[in-house]
């Protein structure tokens, strides 16, 4: 094993489902994962095989780790928030307790944790809120002020568990249809929240369009912006090159980087957004 590298604690385990509950539009699922829990950091994800033994779905599905709890010798658990969407996620959300799934993790980059207490704004879209609660706990434990804003198309798609609310200083909800919280998109409310709470850093997770909008606002306010991207991934471990997006390096040159190992958490400022279907001019090797 190579020291200092991404995914160096990743292993594959037969993870037992110890709870599977419907929460709004999502399923909150708890897995017994052993040592994986101890190594999981907010922002990491896991990759799960779906469909059972004779599945026609050959690829794993990636899920952001919602929370992880290391219990030492008695093993560890992680929690996921899964939207029943297509074949793989529907299979997973339909599994009874005690089922076992093949789970690989922890994978990918984690949110960077500031060494000093800062004023952080956490922005989640849909199930993108999942990794933010674990992050909020860590930030709070480092003395940060944590404000959170969660958006979704409608009330059922806001994932905000009660316990989670305790770890934030303020929680703003927005919905596209006005069925809960403020009526509108999260990005509509960011400038106000940034100013009112004197935000120093933004953390975000959600649909790519939302991350792009946040990046723009972050740049306008000259704020750091760490976002967890979600690209279509075949392997999740950096070997297939399907999950790439153009990210600028320290030399200012954009490269098609793998979002599974250079991400999912990346510096929003470095991403060339809205590049679906094209390789931006100037990208390395174009």
């Amino acid at each position: 094993m190579v020291a200092g590298m991404i995914n160096r604690f990743a292993t594959t385990v037969a993870a037992e489902i110890i709870s599977n509950k419907k929460v709004g539009a999502y399923h909150h699922i708890v897995f017994e994962v052993g040592a994986i829990a101890a190594h999981a950091r907010p922002g990491n994800f896991v990759a799960i095989s779906v469909g059972g033994e004779n599945s026609s779905m050959v690829l794993r599905r990636a899920f952001a780790i919602h929370r992880s709890m290391d219990r030492g010798a008695s093993g560890g658990v992680i929690e996921l928030v899964v939207a029943p969407h297509g074949g793989g996620s529907r299979w997973l959300t339909g599994l009874p307790v005690h089922s076992k799934v093949s789970l690989t993790g922890p994978l990918g980059t984690a949110f960077g944790i500031p060494t000093e207490p800062v004023r952080a704004l956490l922005v989640g879209g849909g199930y993108g809120s999942a990794p933010l609660f674990g992050l909020a706990e860590v930030l709070k434990s480092r003395g940060c002020r944590v404000d959170m804003v969660l958006g979704a198309s409608s009330a059922g798609k806001i994932y905000a568990p009660i316990e989670g609310k305790r770890s934030v200083n303020s929680l703003t909800i927005t919905t596209d249809d006005g069925s809960a919280g403020f009526h509108g998109k999260v990005s509509d409310f960011l400038p106000k929240l940034i100013e009112e709470n004197q935000i120093e850093i933004i953390y975000s997770c959600g649909p790519m369009g939302m991350l792009e909008a946040i990046s723009e606002i972050a740049q306008q306010h000259d704020l750091l912006h760490q976002c967890a991207v979600e690209e279509s991934m075949a392997c999740g471990i950096g070997v297939c090159m399907t999950c790439v997006l153009p990210i600028k390096g320290d030399d200012g040159v954009a490269r098609m980087e793998r979002s599974c190992i250079k991400g999912p958490v990346v510096d929003g400022e470095k991403v060339i957004w809205n590049s679906k279907g094209l390789i931006p001019e100037g990208t390395w090797g174009k």
Binding site: V2, T12, I237, C240, K276
Partner: protein, 310 residues
């Protein structure tokens, strides 16, 4: 009981017959988190081209029933960086290495071959001729006997003869054995069978092709029967053909099918995406299956299906 698991591809020997598939193991580093690369027969590197290459736009993949489409477009660092960084790192790991090369022109194949001469740690060269020829309307080299011959000949003329030439063929042809024969006449020592099949998936929301590149390469268990057939056909037509087999191998039983059909080595591609340790699992399972069937060595099983042919 001492089962001999070693194999050889022409004049290159390997400690076991389980390889990675080109383009399915990153630069090796990523996979080495899951098992030591030195436990493989060899790492087959992602097809490398002359220059750095961004590859195709995204989306680059679509899952399909028991398979997937990809259109990576040969993204890679180019031969210079590759030789400077990736190869030394793999050598450090104690991995055996098969370098895969891909060109846009016949000249590219010649230059790439020259660049490999004298590089320490390389056991063989896989020549990916299943890629578009920019001098011929983007037609795939291995889909035309003339260009297939030209590409392999260019390698033959320029590569150190100590390195076996493994011609990697596309199954998207009328007669794959005929292309294989042409490659033999151009100097190929072995074949890699098969590359992906050309396919397309349409996104029902946008009602456009799902991949930015429109078409993509189909891999995974779905194509295994095509791989077994291609290996069988080439081995029937050219009885002493040496074959590195691939296409939908995800467990030891799958691997055994390809071996019996005529493969002296097995590359594991898509299966690694579903199971990072797939190659190791396959290695162990295949060995057990061979021992159970009474084979004393791996090489006894290669092409065993052809035992009744004269």
């Amino acid at each position: 009981m001492s089962f001999d698991y070693s194999t050889s591809l022409a004049h290159a020997s390997f400690k076991n017959p389980i390889f990675t598939a080109s383009g399915c193991a990153g630069s090796g580093k990523e996979l080495s988190q899951f098992f030591p690369l030195s436990d493989l027969g060899a790492v087959v590197t992602k097809s490398i081209m002359l220059k750095p290459r961004s590859g195709r736009a995204t989306p680059r993949m679509a899952e399909t029933p028991s398979g997937m489409l990809n259109s990576i477009g040969l993204q890679g660092p180019g031969i210079d960086l590759f030789l400077e960084k990736d190869i030394p790192w793999l050598v450090d790991q104690g991995a055996d290495i098969v370098v895969s090369i891909a060109g846009e022109t016949v000249e590219d194949y010649a230059i790439l071959s020259q660049r490999l001469n004298g590089v320490a740690g390389i056991s063989a060269v896989e020549v990916n001729i299943s890629c578009p020829n920019v001098e011929n309307r983007g037609q795939v080299f291995s889909c035309d006997p003339v260009t297939a011959h030209a590409a392999i000949s260019a390698v033959k003329r320029n590569l150190n003869p100590a390195l076996p030439i493994i011609a990697k063929l596309s199954p998207d042809v009328t007669d794959i054995a005929a292309i294989a024969e042409v490659c033999v006449s151009a100097g190929a020592d072995a074949f890699a069978l098969i590359n992906t099949l050309l396919g397309m998936v349409i996104d029902l929301n946008t009602m456009r092709p799902k991949l930015a590149g429109k078409t993509g390469g189909l891999s995974g268990p779905a194509i295994r029967p095509v791989a077994v057939r291609a290996i069988y056909q080439v081995r029937s037509r050219i009885p002493d053909a040496v074959i590195l087999g691939m296409g939908g191998v995800s467990n030891g039983r799958d691997a055994l099918e390809l071996v019996l059909a005529g493969a002296s080595g097995i590359s594991v591609g898509t299966a690694t995406f579903g199971n990072p340790r797939a190659a190791m699992d396959i290695k162990n399972e295949l060995e057990s299956l061979l021992v159970e069937r009474g084979f004393a060595s791996f090489s006894e099983a290669v092409g065993y299906v052809h035992r009744d042919e004269i």
